[in-house]
Structure formats: C-alpha cells, structure tokens
Assembly symmetry: C2
Amino acid sequence: MSGPPSEGPGGLPVPAGGAVEDYLRAQATEFLRALRAQRENGPASDEASEAARALRRAARRIAGALHTFGPLLEPSWSDAVRPELAWLSSTLAREHAYTTRLTRLLGALHRLCGGPDPEAAGELPAPAPRSSRARTAVATPSARRAPATAPSATGTLTVGAAKAGALLERQLTLARTRAHSAALGALGSSRFHAVADQIAVLASEVPLNPATASAPSQESLASLATGTATRLMDAVEALPLCRAGHPYNAEALILGGVTPDTAPDGQDAPWHQVGRLLRLHRYAQEVTGPVPGVPRGLAATGLLGAGHALDQHRDAADAAKAAAEAARTPRITPATAYALGVLHADQRHEVEAARFAFQRIWQRGTVTAR
Amino acid sequence: MSGPPSEGPGGLPVPAGGAVEDYLRAQATEFLRALRAQRENGPASDEASEAARALRRAARRIAGALHTFGPLLEPSWSDAVRPELAWLSSTLAREHAYTTRLTRLLGALHRLCGGPDPEAAGELPAPAPRSSRARTAVATPSARRAPATAPSATGTLTVGAAKAGALLERQLTLARTRAHSAALGALGSSRFHAVADQIAVLASEVPLNPATASAPSQESLASLATGTATRLMDAVEALPLCRAGHPYNAEALILGGVTPDTAPDGQDAPWHQVGRLLRLHRYAQEVTGPVPGVPRGLAATGLLGAGHALDQHRDAADAAKAAAEAARTPRITPATAYALGVLHADQRHEVEAARFAFQRIWQRGTVTAR
C-alpha cells in the first residue's frame, strides 16, 4: 500500500482519523463477511476453516490498528474492544497452531530418519484437515486410536522414532481437538456475539476521538506509526543479533535443552516480542505506507521475510517444547525418550537457524538503507 | 619447512632418497628418544603420558613418509613396517581419544545446562589425568563408584543430565582404563619390540630402493608428494562442500540421529578420509616443502586450521556415537535417555559446524590461490 492521500478533494488536508476510519471499516467488513461464511458452512468444512482464518486475520488487523492509532479513536470504546479481539484471535489461532506443530514434528522425525522432508515432498500424509478430525471429536477414543493409524505417517521410521511420532500425534491431536471445540464454543458464546456487534458498528461508523482525529493526516498518522516502528527498532536493538549472526553458536539449546522440565522461554521471549511488534508495524504500514525509522531496505519483501523467520522461530520453539513435554509422559520407554530428546534439540537448532535467518535479512535491510 | 635443497655440495643434484632419508632418520631418533623417556618414567606419570604422545607423533610421521615416499624405499621392508606402525599408533591413541571424548561430552552437558563451558572456564574438573585413573584400574569397582563422585563434575546439572553425565563418565572411564592397560600391554609385547628394533635400524640406516632413490630429488619427491596432494584434492572435491557452506542445513543429524542403533557413519566417512589425507599431505610437506596442486592460500596456517576442523569433526562424531551407545544401556530412566538424545543431537550439530568451518577455510584458501 502506498499510504493515504495527503490531500482530499478540493486540496484540503485529509484528517488523520480518515485514513484509520477507512482501514477499520474495510477490515470490519472483511470480518463480517468471514463470519457469514463461517455460519453458512458446516463447522467442519474446509470453507469454514478458511472463513475462520479470514476472521482471525481481520480481528488481528483491527486490534493492530486500535493499538497503533488508538489516540485517534474514542478511548473507552477502543479500550473495551482490544482485549476482546485479542481473546478471539488467540482462541481461533490455537487449533491451527497444533496442526502446524504436529506437521512440523512429524516432518522433522521423518527427515531425521533419512526420509525426504514430507512437507517438501508431499509424501507423508499431513495430519488430516481439521474437518475429518473434528468428526471424531470425542477426545479419548480418538487419542487411543492414534497409535494404530500412526504407521502410515511414520512408515520408514525406526523403533524409538516411530513411538515418539505416535505419542506426539496422540497428544497434539487431542490438544487440537480440544482447541477446535473451544473455538466452536467461543464462536457460539455471548462474549463473541458482543464482539461481533461491536465490529458491526465499526463497519458503519468508526468511533473517532474528536480531540485528535481531525488533525492533519500525514503528521499525526506518521507520528503514531513511528511510535510502533520505534518500539520495534528498540526491541530489535536489544536482541543478541551479533551472536545470532555467527552460525552454529549453539546458544538456542542452552538451558532447557537437557531436561524436559525447563524451557528456554527466557532467551526466546525477546524474539517473540519482536515478532509481535513486527506484525504491528506491518499492519500500521497498511494504513500509512512506509514509515521512516525502520531499515528502508526492509520496506517490502524484507519485512515479510523477517516476519517469516520469526514465525519459524516461534513454531520451532513451540515444537521443541511439545517434544520436551511429551518426554514427561509417564511410562514411555527410554528409546522413545531418546528420540524425543533428539527431536527437541533438532527443533532448538531450528530456533537458532531462524535467528540466523532473521539477522541476515535485517542486516541486509540496514545496509541497503545506508 | 622450506623443503630439501635442490643442489648438494659441489652443485650435484641431491638424490630424492636423501631428503626422505634425513626425515626418516630424524623421526626415528625422535621415536627412540620418546621410547627411552617412556621407559624411564613410571607408567602412570605425566612424563610417561607426554612420552607416549611423542612416540605416537613420530610413529605417525614415519608411517606417513612410508606411505607417500614408499617407492623410494626398499619395498619389502616398507610393506612390513607400515601396518605395524599403524597398529602401534592406533593402540596408543585410544586412551587419549576416550579422555577427549569424556571431556567433550561432560563439557557439552554442562554448557547445555546453562553453565559456562567448563573447558573454556576451567571450572569443571576435567577427567583426572590417566595417572590417577590408572591407579584405580580395576574396572568394576571404579565404575560403581563413578555415580558417587560424579556430582563434582556435574554440579549444576539437572536430574536427567546429571544421570547421563554419570553414565557417560562411568562407561568412558572404564573404556579408557582398558585402553590404558592395552597400551601398556602393547608397549611390553614382543610385537612392539620388533617394531622398536626396526625403528632403531632406521635411525642409523634407511633401507632405500636403489632403483629409484638416486633419481634427482626435486622431480621425484615432488611427483610423489603431488600424488598424495592429488588424492587429497580429489577427496575434498567429492565432499558436499556446497551444502556444508549453508549454515543450519541440518544434514549431520540425518540418519542415526533418532535411534541409538544406527549411526551416520556413511555421511561421516568421506570427511574422516579427507582428515587422514590432509594429515598425510601435511607430513609430506615436512619433507618436500609446499606442494603444488593444493590451494596455495592454505599452505601454512590454513592447512592446520582445516586439519583442526576435521579433528573436531571426528571428535564430535565419536562423542555423538558414545552418547547414542550410552542410551542403549539397559534399565536407564527415560529422563537419562532424553538427555542423551539431546546430547547426541548437540554433538551432531557440532559435526555440522565443523564441516561448515572446514568449508570456509578451504574456500578461502582456494580463493586466495586464484
């Protein structure tokens, strides 16, 4: 997007509120369209799943705009809606996250056993789409059935790896089924209806803050977007980028690698935070166009690439944690635990690889900007 | 070393055999000096251990010269001595290898648990030098005592890691004790006495091949050394260097990662082979000076650096294998097995890191040579 026009018809400066208003209205319309699609399709269809994704996408963007451009909006309204949108997107995201995690872990196991990466080769059946899972939604029998169906997904794997794969498939399928039920429950709740009502209002009339929203667009929008960009730059500044730029620094495995009880949340947290700020920054740019203060070389594909690296970072960290958690399952064999340990370390190295990738992209952007 | 002089006194060309003769005589003298030192000191003293290292060093160099410059020497003699020297160096090397492996594995465990690298910080007591180990040489009681003494070495480690460390310490200390006894046995054997006698002959009279050894030095030496260099270059050519140059390619963990039964010997073997050829090439250069055909940029420190990277490759691969083998110990807990799995994967990533380091050094040498 190239940002809002600096002048309206007749040469008058466009008020800042206007650009945000247009953006929020468009996203609210998108939200309502997705909601309709979601209701018109069965809860377990591919269309419903696509609609849920669209719903989440719009909810995240509305929340992002409220975050960055909050001062232009009616404060009490904005403060009330933001946490509800956060609740909604996190509830809807969970099922998808479990699917991703299982696919990633089974893929890694397959790769470690010498098979081609199933995701790349399309050879290993990916975990069934949520529709077919949802039909066997009663949790326990589905979980008990999993080991019997696992061999298809873990065909060439050897003893410990096959058991580890079956265990992960059982646990993550169960978690996904629960997340699916929770998402369905959320979409039918009065809490959700209240959110939907507020978004419906937004689609027709955005509650602007009369004290600020009439300020000239360019100035006010840019200064708000720069605020988000500055937070992003500060957060990136605080990352150990120099170390991340040295391949095989073996940092990501430190603490929480060796015992399934601990987790290296501490070292991951600043990266996760940068991922969130990067997304906010990207959304802010959808309203304002390129924002000064961020490496210019990153403006377009670079930002997406950096965001992708941090998504990988988060997914790998979550997958590593899931492997560690599975290793705490009572009564597993040492061979299974060993395979889970290898898998955990493998995913922590993917975490490190993602940091390296991010560092490269960011540095390139910084250099280009000079 | 700058290589042999091309002309002798009176301007006559130095015969090829002469340079090799000088080298072999010097190494044989070194061998005999080390042997005397070894005998004069108690079998468990630091001096004896240093003497054994010197013995090994000389034996490896003599074997290397016989390998590269074999055609200049009396064939039946050379063919008889070479396998004996190989037997001797491998027997003497084993104890040292177990010490290195244990230090590496305990260091890695310590690092993974968030402690400073004990090798770097000098904080974790390194496995006791072989002298004190040798005094508790009866294997089983020492092995049983290990868990009780392990906490000193694994102080800050958490449950699974501590047990894994104690298990590795027990197994590798036992193996080292056995290797020490085997080395002592070998040094007292009639087989060794026969080798020592042959080396004593070498120190006074090198059995040259009259048909070839009188050829002019430059030509003949260079062509033999180039033969070794060519084998090295061909072996490097066959390595997957391009892939190794992409950090975090995750190749080293493939096959043999996930189950303790398999080992990725297949993918390691070509790297080990390059390590051996690189050493032979380095020894050949001690006779001839720089040999054409090998990246010139590598001539001095580069060759050492490349060799060091391949030593790390071999040590990490061996350590990974030891972790996998320990995971097959009956009746270990899942937590121990999990920690061993993490440790195995960590060492396999060290293998990958060593390949990356080698690729960098080699490429730099190739680029400089252009």
